[in-house]
Subunit: 370 residues, 4 copies
C-alpha cells in the first residue's frame, strides 16, 4: 500500500464560488476527507485590503465541513488554504485542490508526486519578519517533508507558504502590548514576512547555511534565497501554513513536478527548463493538447529593485496608482501563460529571497507523457 496525490483545478467565477468542488464531491470525483491542501488565485488586489482570499477560505471551509461533518474551524486547522489575490491581465481565477489517497498499487520504483503539509504556531505582528518566523517555518518545512515521505531536499520542488498579514490596527495593538513589529506599514510587513518565510525554507532544505538564515539578512543578503519557496501573506491566516510538493518513490501515480529559477522577468528559459524536465522540450508554446496535461503552474516574481530590466528602465516602483506587485504579476503571469498556453496559473508577486534577486521561480505539475 502506498500513497497517491491528485490535483484538481477548478475555475472561480467569484471568491464565494465553490461550485466546482461541490460538484466534484457530489459526483465522487473528490473525497472531501482526502483533501490536504488548496492553492488558488482570487480576484482581489493581493495586498493588505484583499478580502477575497478570506472569502474563498470561508466558503470552502463551510463546503467541506458540510461534506465531512467536521467543524469549519477544524477544517481550517487541518487544510492549508493558500490563496493569492490578483488576477491581473490575462490571468484566470481558479483554485487547485490537492488530495491524498491510499492505494494498493505495487511500488513501481519510480518517483511520483508527493505532498505534505504543516503549520507553525500562530504568529503575532511582532513575530513577522523576525528570527522566530524563520525558525518556526524551517521546522514546519521539515515536518511537512516528513509527512510527505520525501527523504532528500533535492526532491523538493515547491514549498508554498501562506503567512499572516496584519492591518494597521493589529500592528499598533501588538506594539502597545509590548510586541516589536518590524514595520508599522502593513504592506511592508507583508514583504518582511515573505522574506523570513523564504529564509526558513532555504534553511530547512540546506540551500543556505543556518548562519545566513537570519533576520539581519532580510533585504540585505540577496544571495541568500530559496529556489523552491513561494511565500504569500494575507490577513485571513494567523500561522504560517506550509505545503511541500516534491517527488518520492513512496508515492505512485501519473503526476510529476519540476521547477526552475527565473533570473529576471523576461527569463523564458527558466519556464522552458521546467517544461523540459516534464517531457516538453524546446517549447515555443504548448499546444492545447500538451497544455491539457498541466495540473498546476506556480510562478513567483518581483519588480527588480534597481528599476531596470535588461538594461532598460521600468516604472513599477515609482507608481502611485498601481502597486508594483500588480504590475509584475500582470507581466510575468502573461509571459508564463504565453509559453504554457494556460491562463489559470498561480502567480504571486513579492519574491523576496525566493529565487534570484529581481527574478523568481516557476514550478509545474503535469501528467507525465504516456
Amino acid at each position: 500500500m502506498n500513497l497517491q496525490t491528485d490535483v484538481h483545478r477548478f475555475p472561480l467565477a467569484d471568491p464565494g464560488d465553490v461550485q466546482g468542488l461541490r460538484q466534484a464531491i457530489a459526483t465522487g470525483l473528490v473525497d472531501p476527507r482526502e483533501i490536504v491542501a488548496v492553492i488558488g488565485k482570487t480576484h482581489g488586489n493581493g495586498l493588505v485590503n484583499d478580502y477575497t482570499r478570506g472569502f474563498l477560505t470561508q466558503s470552502l471551509a463551510f463546503l467541506i465541513s458540510g461534506a465531512t461533518g467536521e467543524t469549519p474551524d477544524a477544517i481550517r486547522q487541518r487544510i492549508p488554504f493558500v490563496f493569492s489575490g490578483g488576477v491581473e491581465g490575462v490571468l484566470s481565477p481558479h483554485y487547485s485542490v490537492f488530495t491524498v489517497t491510499e492505494t494498493q498499487t505495487a511500488e513501481s520504483g519510480e518517483k511520483a508526486l508527493a505532498v505534505g503539509v504543516a503549520f507553525t504556531p500562530e504568529l503575532a505582528p511582532g513575530d513577522v519578519g523576525r528570527q522566530r518566523q524563520i525558525e518556526l517555518t524551517a521546522e514546519a518545512v521539515i515536518r511537512a517533508m516528513q509527512s510527505a515521505n520525501i527523504q532528500s531536499s533535492s526532491d523538493v520542488h515547491f514549498v508554498q507558504i501562506k503567512g499572516p498579514a496584519f492591518t494597521l490596527a493589529e500592528i499598533l495593538a501588538d506594539a502597545d502590548a509590548g510586541g516589536r513589529p518590524a514595520s508599522d506599514n502593513p504592506g511592508k510587513l507583508m514583504g518582511l514576512g515573505r522574506a523570513a518565510s523564504a529564509l526558513g525554507v532555504a534553511k530547512a532544505l540546506g540551500e543556505i547555511p543556518a548562519s545566513r538564515a537570519v533576520e539581519s539578512a532580510i533585504g540585505r543578503d540577496f544571495e541568500a534565497f530559496s529556489s523552491v519557496a513561494s511565500c504569500s501573506a494575507g490577513v485571513e491566516v494567523r500561522a504560517n501554513e506550509v505545503i511541500v510538493v516534491g517527488m518520492s518513490s513512496q508515492w505512485s501515480g501519473p503526476l510529476a513536478i519540476e521547477h526552475a529559477p527565473m533570473k529576471d522577468a523576461l527569463d523564458t528559459t527558466g519556464i522552458r527548463n521546467a517544461l523540459s524536465g516534464l517531457g516538453f522540450p524546446d517549447v515555443l508554446q504548448l499546444s492545447s493538447k500538451q497544455a491539457s496535461r498541466l495540473r498546476a503552474v506556480f510562478v513567483k516574481c518581483e519588480a527588480s529593485r534597481d528599476g531596470v530590466i535588461r538594461g532598460k528602465s521600468h516604472t513599477m516602483l515609482n507608481d502611485g496608482d498601481i502597486d508594483q506587485q500588480r504590475h509584475i504579476r500582470a507581466a510575468v503571469g502573461a509571459i508564463a501563460a504565453s509559453v504554457v498556453n494556460d491562463t489559470a496559473i498561480f502567480v504571486s508577486g513579492g519574491a523576496e529571497h525566493q529565487g534570484p534577486d529581481g527574478g523568481g521561480m516557476i514550478a509545474i505539475i503535469a501528467e507525465r507523457a504516456a
Copy 2:
C-alpha cells in the same frame, strides 16, 4: 537621388525629458529639420486624464523649435507626435524619432523602409466616432501613402493614428453648440474614435469595401478591421495625425518593416511571424545581439469582449480599480517583450477594428541582417 528614413529610439526618464534627442541634435546624429514623426510611450495611464502625452509633445516641440527656428506651433503642425500613455509591467518609456534624408545612393531595386505623414482637419467632439472621422482619416491615409511614395496597399505595414480625445467639459460644450457627440462618456468616446479611425485606414487600403467602412459598423461588424492600423486618442491633439510606414523601392537604407495580426492575447505565433519576415526565424527569444537590430516594435491589443481567452475567463472587464487597457497592455506588452527581448516597445490598448476581434497586431522595424 532618393530618400532614406532612419528611426532613433530614446529612453524617457520622465515625460519632460528630451535629453536624448537634444544630445542627438547637438552631436549631429539627428538633423532636426529632417524629423517627420515621433511615436512614443509615456508614463501616464493612457486614459482621458493622461497629460504625460501633452507634456512630452510640448517638450519636444520646444526643443525642435529651438533647434530649427520654427515656432512650436509650426512644429506641431508639421510633425505628428503620437504618444500612448501606459508603461505597465515591464514596459519602458521611450520615444522613436523618424527622420527622412535625401540621399545620392543609387537605387538598389530593393525595397526599403518608407514613411509618410498627413493630418486631417481639426475634429470636434461631434465628429469623433462618426462617418466624418472615417472619411477624413481615409483621405489622410491616401495622402500619407503618396508622400511616402508607397504605391501598393500591400506595401503598407503600419499606420499609426493619433486622434483627439475630449474631456467631459468639451463634450458637453460641443453638444450645447449643436454638435452630436457619439457619447458623453469621455473614455467611451476615445474608443469610438479609435474605431472610426481604424475603419478609415481599412477603407483607404482596401482591406474592406467602402460599404462596410461606415459609422454603423462600429462596435458591431467586428469582421471589418484593418490589419495594419494602430489608433490612439489623447486630449493633446485636435486632428487625426496619420503616420504611414511601409516599404518602397524609391527609398533606400538598411531598415525594413514587417507586421502580422495577433489572433488573441496569447498569439505568440503572430509575433514570430513578424520576426520571421525580418530574417529571424523560429525565435524562442531574440538574443541580445539580434535584439540590437530592432528599431521599433508596435503592438495593438485589447481585452477580449467575451471575457474569455482560450476558454478561460479573464476579469479585465469587471475591474473597477484598474482599467482594462492597463491590464491588457501589461500582459501583451510583456509577452511581446519576452519574445523580442526588448521592453522599450510601443503597446497600445483598445484595438477596436484594429486586427482580429479580441486580438490585435504587431509591426516591427529592424535593420536587415547583413
Copy 3:
C-alpha cells in the same frame, strides 16, 4: 400590544468580522429571530468586482443561522442584507442591524420609528434598468410599507434598495439566452438598475405620476426622482431587496427618522435640515454627546454630470485611476461626517433619480431628545 424597532450599529474590522453582532446575541442584547434587516458599509470599491459585500452577507447569514437554527439560505431570503462597498476618506466600516420587537407598551399616540421589508422576484440581467424592475420595485415598496404599518407616503423617510449586479459573463450569457440586457458594460448596468429602482420607489410613493416612472425616463427625465430612495447594486444579490423606514403611530420607542434632499455635493443645508427635524437646530457640528444619540445616517450622492459644482469644474468624470463614485463618496461622506460628528455613516454613490440631479439625499435615525 404594538411594535418597536431598534437599530444596533457595529464596527467592522474586516468584511468577515461579525464579532459585534455575535457578542450582542450572546449577551441577549439582540434576539436573532427579531432581526429584520441589516445595512452596512464594507471595505471594497463599491463597484462590480467588490466581493466584500458578499463576504459580509455570508458571514452574517452563517452567524444568524447558527443562532436561530434556520438555514443560511432561509436567512438570506428573510433578511435583506444591504451593503455598500467603499469607505473612502474618513468613513468607517460598520453595519446596522434593525430588529423588531413586540411590546406591551400602551400606544402613546406619538409616531415612532417603523420598518418593513420586501423582496421582488429574482431579476435577470435583461430585467435590470427595464420597466419590469420599475414595476416589481414599486410593488415591493407597497408591500414593505404595509408590513411596516405606514399608512401615508409622507411618513416614509428612507427606502433602501439593494438590487442585483452582474459580471460580464452573466450579462453575455443572458443575452445569448434571449435576454435583452440594457448594457453589456457591467458598471453601467449597475447604474441603470439603481435608476430603475429609484423610479419604482418614486412611483410607489406618488412622488411622480406613473406616466413618468418609465424605462425611457432613465438618464433623461432628471426631474423624475425620489427624495427618499437610496439604491445600490451588487453581485451578491439576485432580487431587489427593499427596506422601508418611516414613522408610524402603531410603533413605539425612542427612535425617529428624518430626511432631506441635498441639492448638490456642498449642500450642508440639507444635512442641517434633517438634523433640525430631529431636534438638533442650527448645528455647526454635533457635540460628542449629541452624536451619541445618532443610530444611523444614510447619504446618497453623485458626481454632477455637467462636471461643475457651484460654477467650478470637478474632474471626477475624467478620471481613469479612481472611479467617480469613490471620489464623490469620499467628499460627501466627509462633509456629512463633519456635521454629524460621526464617520460610521452609510454613503452610497450613484444617485441616479435619487434626489435632485447632481445632489442626493440624507436620512438620519436618532434617539429623540429626552
Copy 4:
C-alpha cells in the same frame, strides 16, 4: 512708497492650460514682471509619478518668458512654482498668482498682506529628510521673511515649501555616488523631505527650540511641528522653494491672511477660527457673496497614523488601491470646501510635522470686509 501684493486665481482646464494668466497679462491685469510666486493644484495623483506639476511649471515658465523676455530657466530660478497634484472629490484645479507692486499709497499704519520668497541650494537625494534640509530650509525662511519685510514670526501665517522628490533611479544613482538617501522608497522619501522642511520652518519661526529641529525628531517627536508650514515635494523641482505669506505694516492693500491649526480631519472649528479672524464669524457656510472675497485657501492634512478618527477606525492606511494621501485630500478638501463654499482650494496631503499630529492647518487669504 510701499508694497502691495495681489493674488489672482485662475481655473486650470488641463495642466498645460495657461489661458487664464495669458489673458490677464494681455489685458494688463497682471504685469508679468511683478509675478513673485505661483501656487496651484493640478490634475495628477500628487505622488512620485505625478508629472502634471512639471507640465504646468513648464507651461507657465514659457508663457512668462515670452512676456518678459527672460529665459524660461531664469523664470524658474526667480519664481517658485509650487504645485500639488490631486484634485480628488469636489476639488477644482486652479493656480494662484502672487504679484508684488510698488505703490505710492501712504502708509496706513494697518498691516496688510505681505509675501516673500527664497530658494535653498539644490538638494541631492541624500540631503532629503536630513539635517541639511532642515538647516537650509530654516535659513531660506529667514531670507523670505526679510524680503517680505515681516519683522515678527507671529505675523507669518503661511509658509509654503516645495521640495524635491526623486525617482528610484535617481535615488539609487545618488547612493552609488556616495550619497546617503534616507530611504530608497521614492514615496517614503517624499514624506521625509516634507517633515524635514516643516522642522526647518518651525525652527526659523521659533515654534520649537533648535534642539528639537533635528533629523532624529522626524517621525518620532510629533509634538515638534509648525502651525504655518505646508510642505510638498515633487520631481519637478531640485531645491526647496520657499514662499512666506504674512502681514506687515510696510505693505498696503485690501488683502489679509489668517490661519489656524486643524486638530484632526473633522476639525471644522479650525476652519471657522481662520474665517473668524478675517471677519466671517460663526459661519455655517459662506454665502456666495462672502466667498467671492476669498483669494486663496490652503489646507494641509493627513490620515491619522493610529488609524482612528474620533474613536472610529478609518481604512486609509491599509488601502492598496488608493493612496492614503488621495483619500485624505478628498475628505478634508471637501469639508473645507463645504464651509468656505469654494472648491478651488489648495489641499495638500502628508502633514508630517505640519500642524498637530493627525490633523493639519488651514490658511485663508481674503479681501477685508469694507
